[in-house]
Symmetry: D2
Subunit: 425 residues, 4 copies
């Protein structure tokens, strides 16, 4: 299935009057506050969020997996699904592949499929948390940190292979998430595991092209439940510093202990020039991988507030943006549309924060004012602004509305069947 | 200091045109959605949030206390402070007293002072977590749950005295928060402590006037750090059920373990007709007692979403509303104005949820729609509606703005001095 | 494979002198403290911990599953595995079946297999968190709480079928764990979900034989990540009270929010006569399902301290004991041996607490003494006592040592193959 | 009051036979395992835990403070209290002073008082979380991180003064704990706060004598409840690295988010040579400051397990050891005796871990064995070994027993009065 400009336009048509009324009112408001509405629209348009290939199917838990039908069973179908999203919201011009779930067989064909829907290839992801059939050494007890040298070498080679695949696709970053860890006190030497991890990463780093980044993810627990080799930003930062310029920390919103102040971590990493990328999702308990913004939208805004501040106040390069959610219950494409919308709204809210007034309130210890300035931005309903940016980009004013109107899922089920299964968790 | 209608009007004046523009636009929107704007305004006006007497001064932590000046040093001054708030936002027509910090000496005088600023007396609070000078038995190891019968009897007598005081003031509820608990495994018999608590509450309950309620608060820890006698809603509910019709559970937003789904507790208690009251505040880590809505505004909305649903779907009586925050850093009056605003906005958002569509989405497992309906209400900027309800009530369109314009704090400092100290934590 | 008395004896032989030395020294110590060593041994022998059928294979996480080889592929093989454990430690005389993973085809044959290894059938467990092939209604959005009546009826019928199976096996309890819940605010009406749950349970309860119990498990999250229908002990207790005498709460150690005081919940439930059963495991973060005692052995002791106190001080019937762990990394049988050992040591420690002195210390607020009394019991090395109880029962002095010496796993792999897979998570 | 050798000996006398029996049995056991009992005793004797001056009085919470009587009201009395502890357990040969609570007036007199009870002066602690009377700039909004330069300069000068005091006393380290942080989103610029903190620390660092260390403490929250300037080990480590060789991280056990794996942090810091010191206490919820080992004794052992491993495997210098607890309920001296005992037992258990076997189990992925090795050490009852080390040092076999027998508290109350108050929280 393909969504073309005509589809979008005819779906937008009946909404245009109401949209114009709301947008004009808001634009006037923003203008009065001294904000440049055209610039805001451009900034929103430029924010592109990569979609991971594994988020297009239904993710499961250890207790079960309930497929929804019409899942993309091949890499080309995954690319087409991202294309559908991009056609609707013009905000996801890249897919992030996961190897070995998505090894391209024919690079030309893959490249053409992507070009056809105007998307590129974002960071490539290695997988060393599952054994593949006939694998010589098992990752049961770890990969880059395994006490068994054979397993480490295998994992290193796999990461290097992933870089090679990425090079052919035009990716510019390797994301390393390690499941490595332990479930019982005593199982591992923390010291040796960390040392193995560093040395393994070093070997991979040496093979990284000069214009690439290595993004090092951290996570406190799961799938192991006592320790992980890179549990927190501090450990990722320590490793990135030792590895060199091209290594940076990747923040996944769900990978934190209860009550962590994530926005402060973002600010600290940007101050040090070491924020490499982001995995967006939301969570209440652990790595719940829920729709972005569905649980803690104010935290999301506070994170973007730091990002926007960091863009102008630090030399940190623009981080890689990606959604990393697991869609157990909703239609994955609807879920992704909601996630992208939530990200863009939080970004828009952060863009309208009166930073001069905020700095003054901070300087003069005017706490009620400082809080009020952030909440003013957050409480402002910027949906008409986002919709205008979508409209001007050729996207749908209401992406989910159009998605449903066009019966996308029904069509995909018809095309691919009720039982097609996407690779992933 | 007194704020009169003229003050308010002259402060509102310059904002009226901009306000009217925003309100009219919003009203049209709400109207189109089939909402009755006048009814919404009336509902907002009717929501009155009691102010606890101890929130008018600067609260401290175990590490220190930094007074801000102009604090109310007497009960009359506390009443006047609530009067100032009520004059500004017409939303706090009652004060909640804490005994023995606020024992009235002359009831007539107190009554007149309250009447003069149009406020009444909400639930009375007992204090059995501090020893008073010359106290015969110490509460160091507990009050209603103390293994020492003398301490228990003292605490029971104190609560009965608090009821007597409340009766003279026109209160209709006794709030019981027990610090009782233990800091070390073994210190207490859980069983005996619970039994003592129940029997002590029973003796107090017997003295409760027939039109009163007993509100039983729960809290998992602090000031004791291993256990408390009423750690969770389940224990409070168990006790309330045993005590009888007039006993209900009081929910303090800060009294939960990390990640607790508080809105679900609210729904369950209302279903059982046992939600008695609310202490509003916000927190990131524990009982942080921060400004309402400053950390998790979406959670606050979700709680009101359950409250509003419960009002029509259950027979639970209207709960008692109170702020319970501790103002360590901000001007306490500004802090309270922000808290009340946050509560009312969350309430307004909950009122505009399309409940029929929500029920249908729930029935048909349309998750994206169900999430979208709640978020639509939450993202709608209802500040103009709230401001209109304030304006129509004779309050300030921007309570904090007017507060600052009128130089309330400066005046209070001039009247009361820089070092006046309010009783409280 | 079968382990017989001869195997055990010849393995015990070389350890007997060292064991006797250690045991005699300890027995003298305990005797001096006024403890009846023979009684302690009998109490330890009588504590039997049921083994769930799904713990005999390797459990996985959503990220992967790494089998270990020789897993029991049939119900008979599972029974035989429990038989191996029981032969080694004489402490697991029952298996707890999970339906539909373990539906017996031939009851006689199953009964004989169980009798052959001297084990019986503990509580039966229903499964309404996974869809079976050709299932008419899906559990994707819940079972007993589903808004779809068809799904509810299916789940009710399944539970009744599980009771029927249990009756034929000689079980006396049905354990109900519901995955039902929601992942997004708005997805479910808390009120209706709770109501559906209650009504569904009621229909099942009506079919419960008069000498059975219904054990209602609670869990705050996973597999859903915003709410569950029975999140905490309070909700389970509320339901059990409404259902009637035969319904009680089941406590799974891993099903609590961070920092929960579980031992207090145990004490409260026993005081109310509503503690129905236990799922033992250990965890650091969430429902980690690790080996019992591997993370928080002192908490385990404190729980047993309440259980032992409750046995004499309350009328709560003896709860059902079961391990509920998931063995991702260790050999499942070794893991279970370690779990049972940890449970029995904690029980032994609780048995030697000087309860009279403790009550006195509590009465007199002697905190250092109260803490000291518990820690004295906990720090006492009771392994020789446990070993003596095993020895006298005909078990192995060092169950894991004997297990390895007898090359049990190697034999099972030879018998069943490297790739045999056990049903379960 | 002074406790002399005679007191100790006569108190030990009646316990000697029982002790000898227990110790000889244990020594034989340890010897059989190839452990050098004399070396173990020496290692235990050498472990000296500094006592902070503020732990000798009753600490309070924001809700109240319940003094116990006989508290040391002067610095000399505090030194004498540590002297009493040291006389009993020969394990606390140093006091850690807190400025300005403990500014010496007469250094000679203080030195003599300390010498008289054989104790020295450990790390000095600055206090920038409370305002002193007449203080020119307030710390209400921070000290080293305050946006107000005046407050920062004041706090820097204070820290330098503390160093000067420490030099006169013979201290070798400055411990910096900053309360600085914020309670509301927006209150502070994370970036500027961190920058201010770094620059302020740098100015203090420049004044640090060459043989001193600067110990940088981290804490996620309290007394501020949204953010702190040094929330986690990563930030402390980052600052210590920038400051230089003499700066290291100090770990306070209570300063972590829920479920943090503290032992891993210890291992990582030692690997990097940056573990500077330890504040021992225990907690269930937050910075509860409870008696060491009273809540999570196994975690304490796991931490010592890393420390002992780190001593031989890394070049990290020996860290500074101190108790940092707050004694709200127990007699502070009894509490400290229990804390020191718990620390030493955990250390002893860590010393007897079979590290060679553990390394082999780790290498060969023998998880059950690895867990078993740690638990074997932890379950061994090493109290007789600790008692022997105390006895040989001239300390009491049962320090608390002797303390009570000698009626120390009663004597102190007689000497100092029931209402003497110690400075502190």
């Amino acid at each position: 299935m393909i969504i073309n400009a005509e589809h979008i336009q005819s779906s937008n048509k009946p909404q245009e009057i109401a949209h114009a009324r709301a947008f004009n009112f808001l634009a006037e408001d923003l203008d009065k506050k001294g904000l440049n509405v055209d610039l805001l629209i451009r900034q929103l348009q430029e924010l592109q969020i990569a979609i991971p290939s594994w988020a297009l199917g239904t993710g499961g838990t250890r207790f079960g997996r309930f497929s929804g039908g019409g899942e993309p069973a091949t890499l080309i179908q995954k690319i087409q699904d991202v294309g559908l999203l991009h056609a609707l919201n013009r905000s996801s011009n890249a897919i992030s592949l996961h190897i070995p779930w998505d090894i391209p067989e024919d690079y030309d064909q893959i490249g053409q499929a992507a070009a056809a829907v105007e998307i590129g290839f974002d960071a490539v992801n290695s997988n060393t948390f599952q054994d593949q059939a006939q694998q010589k050494h098992s990752y049961k007890f770890g990969s880059l940190a395994n006490s068994d040298e054979g397993a480490r070498e295998l994992a290193i080679a796999h990461n290097i292979e992933v870089i090679e695949i990425g090079k052919k696709l035009g990716s510019k970053a390797l994301t390393v998430w390690l499941a490595d860890g332990s479930s019982f006190p005593g199982q591992q030497s923390f010291r040796k595991s960390l040392q193995h991890t560093f040395e393994s990463l070093q070997k991979i780093y040496q093979r990284l092209p000069s214009d690439w980044q290595m993004l090092i993810e951290y996570k406190p627990y799961e799938p192991y439940f006592y320790s992980t080799v890179i549990p927190d930003w501090g450990t990722s930062f320590l490793l990135a510093n030792k590895l060199g310029e091209k290594a940076r920390t990747l923040v996944d919103l769900g990978h934190h202990l209860p009550n962590t102040n994530i926005e402060q971590i973002v600010a600290t990493l940007m101050t040090e020039g070491k924020l490499g990328g982001f995995h967006f999702n939301d969570s209440k308990y652990g790595d719940d991988d829920l729709t972005v913004g569905s649980i803690k939208p104010y935290q999301l805004f506070l994170i973007f507030n730091e990002l926007v501040a960091g863009f102008s106040e630090t030399k940190n390069p623009k981080p890689a943006w990606m959604i990393d959610a697991s869609h157990n219950l909703k239609d994955p494409l609807e879920d992704l549309l909601q996630s992208v919308e939530a990200i863009k709204l939080a970004y828009a809210q952060a863009l309208i924060v009166d930073r001069k007034a905020l700095a003054y309130a901070q300087e003069t210890q005017d706490l009620a004012m400082a809080q009020g300035l952030l909440q003013d931005a957050f409480r402002t309903d910027l949906r008409p602004l986002l919709q205008e940016s979508l409209r001007q980009s050729g996207g749908a004013i209401s992406p989910i509305g159009t998605y449903r109107e066009l019966k996308v899922r029904e069509t995909l089920i018809r095309e691919r069947g009720k039982d097609s299964k996407s690779s992933g968790l």
